[in-house]
Amino acid sequence: MSVLAHESDEDLPAWSLPATAGDSIRLPSSWPERVTREWAWGGATGAGVRVCVLDSGVELDHPLIGPIQRSVAVTKEGDEVVVADDDSGDLCGHGTACAGIIRAFAPECEITSVRVLGAGYTGSAAVLLGGLEWAINEGFDIVNMSLSTTKKQYVDRLHELADSAYFKRTMLVASAHNMPVESFPWRFAAVVSVGSHESPDPYVFYANPNPPVEFFARGLNVEIAWLGGETITATGNSFATPHVAGLSALIMSKHPELTPFQLKSVLHLTATNVGGGE
């Protein structure tokens, strides 16, 4: 009897593989000899990809973003974390900025806003974790996290969530920190972590040979969507991160079969300092 989950009538875990069973899990491969940007996202629009912006909310009908699919707010009521539909938009502008950058890359992707920031500092780490857990259960392809927590008591749970997202095919794209303090989840290997470079070209991004920061994307003097339908210029890893989330949305819309491991490989191979930006 095979123990492979996909061959069995029952949903058994694939803890091991019998010697003769290698062929039975042959995976279709359409990888080209050389992974180029044209192969990775040429002609892609983000259509069919579901992106989650875990942040302060997204302003409704901002001209650079347009309509979004859904908007929820995460709050803490007593000891319980509650996720509910919400139409109050963005409380501080940060999530709107991130959504605008993702939309600029992937005009046809679905965007869902999960508000975990902005309703006061207290309890914010529990709300962040609750929002992330909800997003992973919803099965988004990409989750943009231009934020981090330093609370050590939440690190284990955050680590579990990052690993579970990775195996459920949800790619977490998280802002790295340029300060010598331990913060999370960007340090985890299961996420894509992003720092800033100084080039003004939104398609220039670098694979870092010295992690934990894995990629550098445009983060200096970026024109971002701002509250009231405005735009403004800002700098920070918060804005480099949605560049990689947006590119990931493009890649996933052209190659929906990719796992987070494969998506990260495609990002690596198409990085400016690896594939020469071709």
Binding site: D55, S56, L91, C92, G93, H94, L117, G118, A119, G120, Y121, T122, S124, S146, L147, S148, T149, T150, K151, K152, Q153, S175, H177, N178, M179, P180, V181, E182, S183, S196, H197, E198, G219, L220, N221, W226, L227, G228, E230, I232, T233, A234, T235, G236, N237, S238
Partner: protein, 206 residues
């Protein structure tokens, strides 16, 4: 014991003052290095969920210290909740921000650089530098420099908070300090009995 208490109190009072000066020096230097109009440090008051102006250099230095606003408002609020440093230009475009800033501080900056002040796993507050000259383009090297100032300010802020907690304890806000003071003022016989009780407690605690 009175002497000891007085000595500790004097030390704590002195420390409080010195750490305040260190914090003030940090914002003064940050302002000078970035050639900015102002620089300030905000302390997060976790009990009220507010940010409090703790030190200010330049514009608003006379009036802002002690002023408070909700912890998730403005650029300082972004930085506090996201734990991410941030630089924004042309804030005057945003009428809502301009109005709020003008109402709370009387000064509307064009540009803000801000970093979270982090000590181990706690966020203590935010350091802001307002209106660096806009004729030169901002660089990531400046962002790193801002992070270094943020570290220094976080250390000063943490020391200041510790000194304040120590002073609060000496001021009699803590139960132990209150007992110690009453024991000291008690007649000899009562005091001896009290000390005996304390020794028993000490044995009990091992």
């Amino acid at each position: 014991m009175t002497d000891l208490r007085a000595a500790v109190a004097a030390g704590v009072m002195g420390a409080d003052h010195a750490y305040r000066e260190l914090l003030q020096a940090t914002v003064e230097v940050a302002r000078a290095i970035f050639k900015a109009k102002a620089s300030s440090v905000f302390l997060l008051d976790e009990e009220t969920d507010e940010l409090v102006f703790e030190a200010v250099a330049g514009e608003g230095a006379e009036t802002l210290v002690g002023q408070r606003f909700p912890s998730s408002t403005g650029v300082a609020g972004w930085v506090l909740v996201t734990r991410q440093p941030l630089v924004v230009d042309d804030l005057t475009k945003d009428t809502r921000f301009s109005r709020e800033a003008a109402e709370s501080t009387g000064y509307v900056p064009r540009g803000i650089m801000a970093v979270p002040l982090l000590a181990e796993d706690k966020v203590l507050g935010v350091l802001e530098v307002l209106d660096r000259p806009q004729d030169s383009a901002f660089t990531l090297a400046e962002m790193d420099l801002l992070g270094l100032f943020g570290n220094q300010a976080a250390i000063a802020l943490e020391l200041l908070q510790r000194a304040r907690r120590a002073r609060a304890a000496l001021d009699g806000e803590s139960e132990l300090a209150r007992f110690a003071a009453r024991l000291e003022d008690a007649p000899d016989e009562t005091r001896a009995a009290g000390l005996e009780l304390l020794r028993s407690l000490e044995r009990l605690l091992g």
